[in-house]
Every structure is written in structure tokens, then in C-alpha cells.
Symmetry: D2
Subunit: 340 residues, 4 copies
């Protein structure tokens, strides 16, 4: 057990209590294996209703890297590549998982962790013949690794651009909930179905024990997807563990309610930091904050809290990463602000 309070990530605690209760309540029901159980069917239906996409395919897998390697590998031909920002999870923090499935990631520079048509265009022009890979999919995270969000307009522009250029658009929604409830966000669950080809809705970082829901809108990408899942070791025998959890998360408004708490805590923390006179590497929009502190402040914070150091800004200042979650208690926010 940790002695210091952790703002390292949004997965330091277990699961939302309702989820644990549901696991218990249904424990002795016999069910079919590998995601063919009643709970998975029900959870998939609830997700389809929530996102207003009755024709979408929904599959559950255990983690984000698995979702990413699975979706990208299942969507691309061997010579096709995926475009992402240089700070993307698939580019930096998946130990070459995408490359292991045979595909190049074309990594593009960006200030705020977001891709735009203007950033992508030159890549399409450069990749002109068979000596180069074919850029075929655009990978975005919403919210991003820097805590920023794609608004409805951002996504519409990207979607239009992808359509015009025969590109697939894939949204990594590990932190989709935190994005959708962000104060400056106008994108809603039901908008997404028309704007991306495939999406995954994060469970692990929004109150589940584990699990991500891959949602496929594009008919071509639906074909034999379960074969890909099995081949990559993503089809769990007791798939019920996903079904039970996501049925809880998507019954009523629980999925977004959880995130509202998360973002509220982050908002309070951001306000406190700003009021204390400190700045951020990226504008705080969701539950990932990138404040810049002098080293002496960081030394003090380290005595009480756990967090990642993100980047050295200069010899005196460091950007750290603070993350709130469904389980963050307000008193720790107050404590942290009091220290700075």
C-alpha cells in the first residue's frame, strides 16, 4: 500500500463498487464462453443505444495496447501505415506493439497532442509510390496524452479530410469519458458514430477493473473481427467479466457520471495551481494536468504525493503530470494546493 497519495494515473484503485457488486450478483450463472454470454450481449446493446449506433459491432478486450494492436492490425494491409502524433501512446508507450504486427507508424509533430488536416497533408503528398508505405489510417486519442480534447468541429474536419483522402479514422478512447464531460467539450456520444470508422471506449481508466469496448462502425472493418481477437490472445474464456462491467457502466449515465467527478477534481486542482501563479505545458481540459513547477516545490510535493515528472523545462523548472480519477478524494486536492 502506498504511503503517499498517488496522482500518477487513473488506475491506482480497483473498480467502482457497483461493478464489484454486479460481478458478485451474477457469479454462479452458467454462461457461454468467449464473449457469447448474456452480459456481453446486453452491454453491447447498452453501448449501441448510448452512442445511437444500432448497427455498430461491439467487442470487449482487456487493455488499451491490445485494443490498439488489434484494431490497427485488423484494418490494414501489410504495406499500409497508421498516422499518429509523435507523443501518441502507440508511438511511445506500447513497446513497438504496432510494429510487431508489421505496420509502420508515421509520427507527426504537434504542439498540443492533436492531429489536424494541415498536419497530415504533407505526409500524403510525400507518400507517392511503391517505395513508401501507404498512409491508410489516422490514429487519434480523445482525450489526448496531454489531456487536450478533440471537439466536435475538430473531429468533423478530420473526418471530412479522411473521407476525401481514403483514410480510416480510429479514435483511441481510453479516456473518452474524461473528454466528453470536459467543460469546453461539445462532442457527444451520439456524434461519434458519424465521424470515425472505429473507436474504443475505455473501461480501465474510468472505473472498471479492466476492459475496453471496441466499437466498429465501418462495415469493412467488421469482417471476421473475432478471428483477429482470438489470434491476438484477446478473446477471454470468461468474457462475462467484460459484459458484467460494461453493462453496469452503460446502465443509466454512470459512465459519464464517473468521469464528471474525475474532471471536477482535475478542474479544482488546475484552478488551485493557476491561482498559486503556476502555468501549464498544455491547457488543462480533462483529468491530465501538466503544470510547471520550480524544483523546490516539486521536492516538497514528492514528500506527500506520487506523480510522474513529464519533462524538464529549464534548469529551474520541471513539468509534472497530475492525473485524477473516479476515486480521487477532494481532501488530497486541498492538501496539494495548500503545499504550493
Amino acid at each position: 500500500m502506498m504511503k503517499r497519495y498517488s496522482f500518477m494515473d487513473d488506475y491506482s484503485e480497483g473498480a467502482h463498487p457497483k461493478i464489484l457488486k454486479a460481478l458478485q450478483d451474477n457469479n454462479f450463472q452458467q454462461q457461454l464462453g468467449y464473449g457469447n454470454d448474456d452480459f456481453c450481449l446486453k452491454a453491447a446493446n447498452l453501448i449501441r443505444q448510448t452512442i445511437a449506433a444500432p448497427g455498430a459491432d461491439v467487442h470487449f478486450v482487456s487493455g488499451g495496447t491490445q485494443a490498439n494492436l488489434l484494431v490497427i492490425s485488423a484494418s490494414l494491409r501489410p504495406y499500409e501505415a497508421v498516422i499518429a502524433v509523435k507523443t501518441a501512446h502507440i508511438a511511445v508507450h506500447e513497446t513497438g506493439a504496432i510494429e510487431f504486427t508489421g505496420h509502420k507508424i508515421i509520427e507527426l509533430d504537434t504542439a498540443d497532442g492533436k492531429l489536424t488536416p494541415d498536419i497530415i497533408k504533407p505526409t500524403l503528398i510525400e507518400h507517392c509510390d511503391e517505395h513508401m508505405v501507404v498512409p491508410k489510417m489516422v490514429y487519434i486519442s480523445n482525450s489526448t496524452e496531454m489531456g487536450t480534447i478533440y471537439t466536435k468541429k475538430d473531429l468533423e474536419e478530420l473526418h471530412r479530410f479522411c473521407l476525401e483522402n481514403d483514410l480510416l479514422l480510429y479514435m483511441d478512447g481510453a479516456r473518452l469519458a474524461a473528454s466528453l464531460v470536459a467543460r469546453e467539450q461539445d462532442l457527444a456520444f451520439e456524434d461519434i458514430k458519424d465521424l470515425v470508422d472505429v473507436l474504443y471506449i475505455g473501461g480501465t481508466k474510468n472505473g472498471a477493473l479492466l476492459g475496453e469496448a471496441i466499437v466498429i462502425f465501418n462495415e469493412k472493418l467488421k469482417i471476421k473481427f473475432r478471428y483477429s481477437m482470438k489470434q491476438k490472445g484477446a478473446l477471454l474464456a470468461k468474457g462475462r467479466i467484460f459484459g458484467i462491467q460494461f453493462a453496469e457502466l452503460f446502465r443509466g449515465n454512470m459512465y459519464l457520471d464517473i468521469a464528471s467527478h474525475t474532471d471536477k477534481m482535475a478542474g479544482k486542482l488546475a484552478e488551485g495551481i493557476r491561482n498559486s501563479g503556476y502555468e501549464f505545458l498544455a491547457e488543462p481540459q480533462t483529468n491530465i494536468l501538466l503544470p510547471i513547477f520550480p524544483r523546490n516545490i516539486i521536492t516538497k510535493l514528492k514528500q506527500k504525493f506520487l506523480f510522474h515528472e513529464w519533462r524538464n523545462i529549464d534548469s529551474d523548472n520541471v513539468c509534472i503530470r497530475l492525473v485524477t480519477s473516479w476515486a480521487t478524494e477532494e481532501k488530497h486536492i486541498d492538501n496539494l494546493i495548500a503545499i504550493i
Copy 2:
């Protein structure tokens, strides 16, 4: 919920109640992610104690196919192949997961689902130059897909043969518990460390919600294994879910106690079937039974039970597969025997 009682597999129910309780009890403790939590450390220690292998590396992953593709891919050079029986899980039921990681499976014929030195020898002689793959690893399941077991002597012979021929020996223990408590088994947990290079101990099929424990004895195979895990999408953010479960399973004798019930139920079922005058495709030794019934019996059984049809024997008789589990209730065994 199923209307008929299922003997389809050993993963139709959720988890052993003690496991669910432990998940609940520790839910709000903050922990490090990705298997660095206290629970995983504790569970790994308990496993090392149980198998008397203090120097073994223990890693937890979510399922058997993932364990297999991970271990085999991490152990072999690209031109090296794994030897398995034709009915092996990796050969038949993993949708080419091993081949997707780039490795050939050399599939050998066997009557009872088991490999022996004599079965393997000709393969080593045939693979003699650079136009052929290098057979480098031997994959066995204990218990096998046919419910048979490797005894201590079986394993010692195979181990010696592998040593002499520079082969790695990998035991898929998805159903290791059912094997270890089998009536005719003399192999014990503490024997295994000296007889194989790497092993996975199954959780999913012995009372866990999900999870398998990969145990590495061979020093060379330990190197940077977590990198392989991350790359294959096997490193879960909330690794605690494995730690908590396996700490329960390996506290005291629970892991084997669960399996004792499983095998006892299977034993009673086997006895009933045999007393009714029917035979088996393979000698019943663990919790997988392969009885051969006339079609009219099968029609009757189908009205009350769920199970797999395994193989057509002739125009009148079919071999079916009946599997018991930690959750099998004795009354359903009685019902089934009553019908035949």
C-alpha cells in the same frame, strides 16, 4: 442464463467466492500499475513457495492463448519452430496465434494427446539444414486436450530428451491443477521446476475470473520478458486483478483443493458412464471425459445438458466431451448418469 446444465467447459461460471471477496476487500487501496502492485508481488512469492522455486520469475497474463503466444514468441529466434501434438491447443484452437508471431508449429501424431521422445526423434533427424526450420521448443499441455496426464516419469523422460537435444520444454498448465490432483498422478508442484524451462499455471480454468501465471525457470528466457508482455498487449494497467486472485488461490492449498472437487466430479461421472457400459476415446484421468455414445443417447442428453460433440466414431456412435469444474454440482452428475 442457460436453461440446460452445461458440461461444455470449466469456465461457465464466474470466480470462486473467496476471490470475489478479496477483490472487494482490497478495492480502494492505491497501488502501482502494470503488475508492480503489492498483490502481484505477494502472489508471485506464494507461487514460488508452492513450487519450491525461489528463483523463478512469475508474470500474470489474462488468458491461455496470450500466455502461449507470448512465451513461444519470446523464446524463439525467427527461424526456430515449436513441436506440438496435432491436437494441441496452439495447433488447432488459437487461430494461428503462434504463426502470427512468425513461428512454425511442427505438428506430430499421437494417440493420447501426449508427446514422447520417440515421437519427436524423427523430426530432429529430418530438420538438418538451413532450408528447414530449427525445432527448438517442445510444447506440452498437462493435462492435455484429451484429459490425459503427464506423470513424473513421462516428464523426466521428456526433460532428459530435451536437454540432450538442446530443446526448450514448455508446459501449458491451463489445467495443471486437474492434472496434479488426478488419481494416477505422481507429479507434484515442486517437481516441475527441474523438468521444464517455462510453465504457465492456469487460473481461468481453476476458479479465477481470468488470469494465468507464467513461471520462468530458464535464465535465458527471463530476459526482458516484461517488454514482450507489453508489446503483445499483455500488461494490464490494473495488474492487481491478477495479484489479488492468485494470492487467494495460492494461500494455503486452495488451488489444488478446487481441482480436487473438479476431478472428483469427473471421476464420479466417468464411473457412472463406464458402469452403464460405455467406453471412452481416451482413458479418463482428469476433468475432461470423452465418452462414446450411440446417437439416441446423445439426443436424450441434449435435452437436459450442453456439451461439445467431439468426433464421429462411426455411423451410429459419437464421441462427446464432458467437462467438470470447481462449480460443478453433484446433482447434475447424478441426473446425467440417470439418463444413460
Copy 3:
């Protein structure tokens, strides 16, 4: 230089003299790289004419293993598998090249090296769900590794079966020439276009220095094939080396004329062996002979000739492999027959 005359294979000498002359005659012409040269265009046209397939795509690569891994990898989705006989080149003698590209080879037993619908059928029935690979392509060699041939009828039956079962049919024609001129063959160059999806026409084993011509009939398999070639290292900068050679081979009847000599030499050799009272493992049809000799004969032969020992038949007799080529001189046939 070898002291003994070699019947080991059909690639022990260099190239047909006309090919070397053509390389010399065109040496200083500047040409575009990577197969966009005039010679490749011309050679492709000559091949299209010869096989009466004006719409076929033709690509040149340096060897058979490269052709096979390229065609199979470009044709299949990751979870799809290729069906072949157990003695197939891709199954035995390509060091897992196909598996390295991620695909399983389903290996089937056969007496004469040939696949038939009856041999394939059970495989299609068994592979019924997402836990197993999808059998999608049938790989055959014509002539086979055992020197046997697919006749027109054989191929028509296989083609019809593949069509009915949504299978692609791929013919490895490393030794296509030797098959087409075989005495018992009724299949002609112009028949093939309607019977397979993709084919490669062997150069290396029929008088070229190197080079195989991949011919694609199926529109879907044509898409971006040059991207796959480049990715697998198969696009040579001086592609002209293929164009010049194949333009020679397919100007007039040279490609089949070369093979006629090859098969004639084999026929004479086979007749001599049979007249001496010896039998064959497979009926001699092309330029690969599998005679069975007592060990003392083999000892004698070894003093004068080089060849492969193919298989031990019993304690006294061994099957050896004798191969003739475009360069085989008749006097060595006479010498060999004289010895036995």
C-alpha cells in the same frame, strides 16, 4: 568444379547461352529501375500472349521462396491460412518463410504429392469458427516435389472446388515447363488462366540465371502488389535482368523447348532404370525421378554421380532423387544406366 556429374538438381549450371547473349547485347542501354524498364514490359507482354491472358499482371522476382512468401502474404488476411500437401516446398523447405509472414500452413497427407477436393474437404468442415484459422488459399506445385503432374482434369476439379468454397488457388510453377511438356500432360499454357488465381512461372529451374514470373489473374490480388514486392525486398533496382531473360525465354517456343530436352533426358533415364528392373517411389512423369535402389548400387553410383538420398525404404533399399535439366548431357545418362 565438381569431379562427379551432378543429377542433384536442375540449377547446377548457369544460364541458357541465348540469355547470356541478350544480357550482353543490351548492357549499355539506360533504363528505368525496379522493373519499369522496356525489357520487363516486353517480357510481360510475351508471357501474356503465351498464356492467352491479356489482362494478367506479371511481376518478376528472384527466387521461388520469395515468390511464395510474397504471393501468399499479399493474398491473405492475418487469420487466413494456406492449404498444402505435407511434402510441399512451402511446408518443408522454406525455413518457415510463410509462417514468418504470419500465416499457418495446413498440411495434408497425400501419396503422390497432389491435392484433390477429397483430400481438402475435411479441413473445410473442421475449420468452423473463430478459434481456428480460415482456410483461404490452396497451394499446389505443378510439377510437384515428387515429379508428378496436375493434368487439365485435375486442375479443373480443383478449380471448381475452390470456386465453390471461396478458396484461392495458387500454382507454384517452379517446374511448370517440365510439367507442360510431360508425355502424359494435356494441360497447356493457355488453359491455366481460367483455372488458378495466381501462378508463378519458374525461370531458375528452366534455363534462367535467376528469376520467376508471378502472374496474377484475380483482380483482387493485383491491388498494390508492387508495394508488397518492395516491402519483402523483391523489387530489384536493375529489374532489367529479369526482363531480358524472360523476353528470351518467351520469344518463340524457347521456354518449352528447353523443358522438352529436360524431360526427354529424364524419360530416357527412367526407361533405363526400369529396364534394369528397378522401381520408383512415384511414377516418373517429369524431370524428377525417385528410383529405389539397393544400397550396393547406390555406393557404386556415388563414385561417379552426385544426387540426393530421398528416403530409406527398408534396411536394404533407398529411394534417391535424380533430376535432369536443360543442360543435362545424354552421355551421362548412358553412363549411369551402364552402372546399374
Copy 4:
């Protein structure tokens, strides 16, 4: 045949006449297949002598992309990555060949196409745990894609850095000859053995019809390399085609003599361009020139010559790529200079 004279590349013509003659002279000798012929043995010995590395392993393959994917794939574990400049051939112009074998390329910015310890250092610091790939190999081209060279000092610094950081150093020598004879070069053939782990010496771009010689100094990388070659389709049946060519190139000083002509032609061209008042994107050092011309000059040049447009500099000026070769005739240099 081209109507305009080509400065597009160094592989527009066939082979050096002596090579064609050697192919002819040895055509009817019977030889073992797959690189076990006398010519390959002899050529390997000549190369070992030339580079003063009697213990090096030498293997011949048909092209540069194949050499690269083969060497990198054979050297790395799945989670290991290769470091290269952003303009590297493997990063841009191999259609994701390296990624197809499963490995990430870490692409670094550089002005002149060259890597230095300072450029690499931050990458080693960033890649600190199992969520990221392990940087394990440094890939350099000498000469580079921009025509620049690694001098002896450059290479010694890089070598020392790699040793200190447990990195393998791989030199792509597609244009090694043009580098070694460059006016400002002090690196010699016999220096290389102590400075890199593995190297390929280019044939295709220095007078051969096809072929590159992979030279392995590091004992660990030698292991079972022929297995990797076969698996990747790189082992040609008539390996003699490589042996005969490289035996010619490395008999006497022919390999460097050819390149001396190449570089001399480039030097004259560079001087003429500079005297006409134009500048270069990178300092001309070998046979690749990157002059910057106003658009009207380019329009004129296009009427008489073929070349690649490399990059738009601004609205008025474009950088083009001019390449000379063993076959470049001086009169065309004069013509080009006359036009500008």
C-alpha cells in the same frame, strides 16, 4: 530506351563488361546451389582479404532492401528497435520492410544525413522501461542518402559510443565504394572491420547486375544467418551469380576503380555547377549531388536529362538530385554544365 540522358541513379545500365564476361566464361561448370559454389567461396575470400578480416562471414543477397531487412531482423529481439536518420533508406524508401519484420525504427533529425553520438544520446535516455522499445542497433549508410560520407573519425566516435551503450552498429554500404574513394575520405576498407558489427558492400550500385555482400564481424550475429536468409527468400538456387560477380569486383582493385570514375564524374559536375553560381543542399562529397536551381533552369534541363526533383526550397528554387555511375559518360556532364 531512354531519349534523354539519365542522371536519375547509378543503376540505369547493366553490368561492368568484365562481369558479363565472367558469367559467360564459367557458365557450364556444374556447381552446388544456394551459395555453396566455388565462386561464392572465392569471392568471400577475396572480400575478406580486401577488408583484412579473415574471420568475417560473407553472404550474398540480391538487393539492398533485402540485405537491410535480413540483417536487422536477424540481429534484434522482437522488442528491440533500430535507430536511423529520418531520411534513411530503411525509414523512407523500403515500404515498411523493417516494420514488417516486427521492428520499430526510431527516426532522428539530422541536417546532413549522418548520425552522431550527440544526436542519439537523448533517445537512449528516453527509452527507460518496458513500456518502450529497447534501442539496440544503429543503422547508418555510408555514403548517405544525401551523398555525404562518414570519415574514419566519425565512425570511430560512433563505434565507441555504441560499445559504451551496448548498441550494435550496422553500415549500409550500398554506396560504400563511392564513399571510400571520395576526396575527403580517410576511411579505408581495412578500417571498417574494427568499427562496425555488420556491413553490406553494395554491388548493384557499383557495376554488378545485382547483388550485395553482407559481411558479419560480430560473432553473435553470425549464428544461423543462412537460416534467416532462406526464411526471407534471400538464398538463390544459382548463388553462383553472386560469386562470379563479386570475384570479379574484388580481384585486384576493380571495385574501387569503378567508383573512382563515378566520383570523378560527380566531382566534375559539382565543380561546373558551383562555377555557374549555384549552391547545394548538402556539400557534394560522392556521386549524389543535390544542387539548387531556379525553376527555369530545371525546365531546360528536363528537355535533355532525366533526374529526380528532391525538394522544393522556395517558390522559385528547387533542389534536384543528380547521380553519376560507373557508366556515366563525360560528354553528358559537359552538356549539362553547358546548359546551366
